[in-house]
């Protein structure tokens, strides 16, 4: 095809598959025994989980003194990893809620997966603030409840806002995900021949009957949830950025933080979703449902938000100079030229320079380069949080209290644990639940909707 007819929208699902074949393709991983690739991958990820779990257990036993953070760098890997994982989660909600409201039909193939990744990423993120309190088993005190000590939490503290933002985000994401899964559970229930599976799916489907009288409320509820998830996702990383912006540390105390953090979150999240989707469409033969077109659109979003992140980096430097504040100016010169310059330039090259390659269509639509760029972006985004947290804390106002930060093997172990948890969950998810929304995909196949000719009238 030399010319493309732009008046005709490209099909969301390639090849006009029948509804039954969609059932078969999507539920195939659920009905078959896992292959060797999957077994090897889950061995690796559960090893990461186990070995990292050792580091976590040692932290529980000995206390957080085994970590590398100490005065003046009181926040180290714990908060770096927290912000990193919460950021990863943002792509899922963006794809499932924001693109839903914007009527982007291409989201259909990837929304379920992205939502699952949101939930897993928020689970990983939740580990870090929970354990950085030192005694994770006393974290119940983070929530306001009428207690015997007659004291209340401080509702004007960004750290408490965080508790509410992250727990609300997790809850709303989880119910959004579950509401989307309900009709698919019903479809799985009705096609399985295995009694145990049928019982499990029956319980999970809650008795869904595909009734049009239900669909009508269901679609409304989905719209409402998407409407709530959209401001919610923006609020979560805004509030995470308040943890820094509300303090008075040079390099943190800036008003650009909320939009800058949200853009960064979407950036890293899209990179992670893109990476995992490439694996899934390859491994489960979903290439006609998760098309190259979808991946290209994700790469375009990454190019956009990556450039926004680059703009934020530049603007931070500009404001540091323009404000005339010597501490602010010093912090940024120190970031680019100080002892952590290697981290800073890793961040800039991974987040701003390399993603510019996405301007080239060939790179946007070829699997290997886009996969590598996705990995690069995630490395860069992890270093962004490292740079923000560690450089600002290690050298603030008083040169006499400067100090360097070095993570210990337990810090690295817990980071590995979080990656192990995330990928183990992803691997279990693709084999236990429909990784693509069956009902939604059926609804967007060409010819799935009435022809608007009103039947025979």
């Amino acid at each position: 095809m030399s010319t493309i007819d732009y008046t005709q929208e490209l099909p969301t699902v390639e090849g006009k598959p029948s509804a039954q074949s969609i059932d078969d393709v999507i539920s195939k991983p659920l009905d078959t025994k896992p292959g060797n690739l999957w077994k090897i991958l889950i061995t690796i990820t559960s090893l990461m989980l186990l070995v990292g779990g050792g580091a976590l257990g040692w932290t529980f036993y000995k206390g957080i003194g085994v970590w590398g953070n100490n005065n003046p760098v009181g926040w180290g890997f714990d908060i770096v990893n927290f912000v990193f994982w919460v950021g990863i989660g943002h792509a899922g909600t963006l794809i499932s809620a924001v693109l839903f409201l914007l009527r982007q039909r291409w989201r259909t193939g990837i929304a379920r997966f992205a939502e699952a990744m949101t939930i897993f990423a928020v689970m990983c993120a939740g580990i870090f603030p929970a354990i950085h309190t030192g005694r994770a088993w006393l974290d119940g005190y983070l929530f306001p409840y009428p207690n015997a000590n007659n004291i209340w939490v401080n509702f004007t503290s960004p750290l408490l806002w965080d508790v509410f933002a992250v727990s609300t985000y997790f809850t709303v994401s989880a119910i959004f995900w579950y509401v989307g899964l309900m009709p698919d559970f019903a479809t799985l229930r009705d096609r399985t021949t295995n009694t145990l599976k049928k019982n499990i799916y029956s319980i999970l489907s809650l008795g869904w009957r595909h009734s049009s009288r239900h669909w009508q409320h269901y679609e409304k509820a989905y719209m409402i949830l998407a409407g709530f998830a959209t401001p919610l996702v923006l609020s979560v990383h805004t509030i995470v950025s308040f943890d820094f912006a509300v303090s008075v540390i040079p390099g943190w105390h800036t008003t650009i933080f909320p939009p800058y953090f949200v853009a960064g979150a979407v950036f890293s999240g899209f990179a992670m979703v893109q990476n995992v989707l490439i694996f899934v469409r390859q491994a489960f033969n979903l290439k006609h449902i998760i098309t190259i077109g979808h991946l290209e659109k994700m790469n375009q979003v990454m190019l956009l938000v990556g450039t926004m992140v680059g703009y934020a980096y530049a603007m931070e430097f500009f404001v540091a100079w323009y404000s005339g504040n010597q501490f602010e100016t010093f912090t940024f010169i120190n970031r680019a030229l100080g002892p952590y310059a290697w981290a800073y330039w890793t961040m800039v090259s991974c987040n701003v320079i390399f993603p510019q390659l996405f301007w080239i269509k060939k790179i946007r639509t070829t699997i290997l380069p886009m996969f590598i760029l996705g990995v690069v972006v995630n490395i860069g985004m992890w270093f962004e949080r490292f740079v923000i947290i560690v450089t600002s804390l290690s050298r603030d106002y008083l040169p006499s209290s400067w100090g360097m930060y070095t993570p210990t093997i337990y810090d690295l172990g817990i980071l590995m644990f979080s990656f192990g948890l995330f990928f183990t969950n992803v691997l279990l998810f693709v084999r236990a639940l429909p990784a693509v929304s069956i009902a939604e995909v059926k609804a967007v196949v060409d010819g799935a909707q009435p022809s608007h000719k009103g039947g025979h009238h």
Binding site: Q20, F155, G207, S212, Q216, H217, K220, A448, H457
Partner: protein, 378 residues
């Protein structure tokens, strides 16, 4: 078969256009208690079925506004009334800082509440015992077909008429669905009650263990084992491995005076005089120390009648002529040096305490052998 109650009559259609048409025809035929079942939401079917639009949004609005009002009022009460703390020099009612939590609670209550209303209120779920489940009809509409289901509670329902109507509008696989016979389950079944009790006990036990035992165990708390110096226990901090330190050689304890008559005979100490006056405080102190250190052998009244009596040798009475006639210095000498099997009490009793005890012994000697003349008015 005929005795069974009919639930509904169903028909299958192949395309979305057909199901829109079938819905319109069913409405036109006058049926109201009917439903269509489609594997995915078909656009425009609510208009064809004449069921109006969803009113779920009003619940959401109400729930969201309630959540917002509750959160804001609650934070106000906490921060300004019940637990006012000055934070950053801001007023107690610093409402801009209340916004983030208010927003999150609004979203949480609206989203969770909407789904709750949707599933429990509008769908009446969980409902896995609905008659349509496990029918061929449900299996088809779950995958790729579109179905119409006319329910028997419709006022103009008649099995034969409904079947021929559905046939007439092009429906396939027309079938009648019967209500299954349902078993009723007694809530007072002993097994069920026992199960409930078991669950209650397990939950209560686990909660008790977690809250009252577990949190006081290592590593949840290290109160029982701490890295500090404890007397009587081993410690690696010092070369000799003892946690407890001994004083430097030649150390003299505070208030300690060396006893210059050590090892000398009675005659040498006879002239020592008691430096303490006879006062209430002195006698009280003397009684306290006598009861602690002397009474275990000599008895509370100094009669030698303690539980040591009868074991060789009997503790001597302090009311003997010998002791009564002793000068205070002689008793002092015995307390410091000991006598026969009685050890020295120099370490346990300070100088003043010894003299106080002697004053008290004199009180005992007089009160236990009181003469008539001691009683007032005789």
């Amino acid at each position: 078969m005929d005795t069974k109650k009919i639930h509904s009559v169903t028909a299958i259609f192949d395309t979305p256009d057909d199901i829109i048409m079938a819905s319109q025809e069913t409405v036109k035929a006058g049926y109201t208690k009917f439903d269509t079942n489609t594997p995915y939401p078909v656009h425009g079917i609510e208009k064809a079925m004449n069921i109006g639009t969803s009113y779920l949004g009003y619940f959401t609005l109400f729930l969201g506004l309630s959540g917002a009002a509750f959160a804001f009022a609650f934070i106000y009460w906490v921060a300004a009334i019940d637990y006012p703390l000055i934070i950053g020099g801001k007023p107690f009612f610093s409402w801009p800082a209340f916004i983030p939590v208010t927003f999150e609670v609004t979203v949480l209550s609206a989203a969770v509440g909407t789904v709750g209303v949707l599933i429990a209120g509008l769908f009446k779920f969980p409902n896995n015992s609905h008659t349509l489940h496990d029918t061929d009809y449900m299996k088809k509409v779950s995958s790729d077909k579109f179905g119409v289901c006319i329910v028997s509670i419709d006022p103009m329902f008649d099995e034969a008429k409904a079947k021929s109507f559905l046939q007439g509008i092009g429906g396939k696989d027309i079938e009648t669905i019967y209500e299954p016979e349902r078993k009723t389950i007694n809530a007072f079944e002993p097994k069920f009650i026992m199960g409930l009790i078991l669950i209650a006990l397990l939950t209560a036990g686990a909660t008790y263990f977690a809250l009252n035992k577990l949190v006081f165990m290592q590593p949840f708390t290290w109160m029982a084992e701490q890295n500090k110096l404890v007397p009587q226990s081993k410690n690696v901090m010092f070369g000799d491995g003892y946690g407890m330190r001994t004083p430097v050689e030649g150390t003299v304890a505070r208030g300690f005076t060396p006893y210059e008559f050590k090892g000398m005979s009675d005659s040498a100490v006879k002239n020592l005089s008691n430096p303490l006056p006879v006062s209430k405080q002195v006698l009280a102190k003397g009684k306290e120390k006598f009861d602690s250190y002397c009474s275990p052998c000599h008895g509370y009244y100094g009669k030698g009648d303690s539980r040591m009596n009868g074991q060789f040798p009997n503790p001597p009475s302090l009311h003997s002529d010998k002791v009564t006639n002793w000068a205070d210095g002689n008793i002092y000498h015995v307390i410091v040096n000991g006598q026969n099997v009685m050890p020295s009490y120099a370490k346990q009793l300070s100088k003043d305490e010894r003299w106080s005890i002697i004053r008290y012994i004199r009180v005992l000697q007089r009160s236990q052998n009181a003469k008539d003349s001691d009683v007032e008015g005789k």
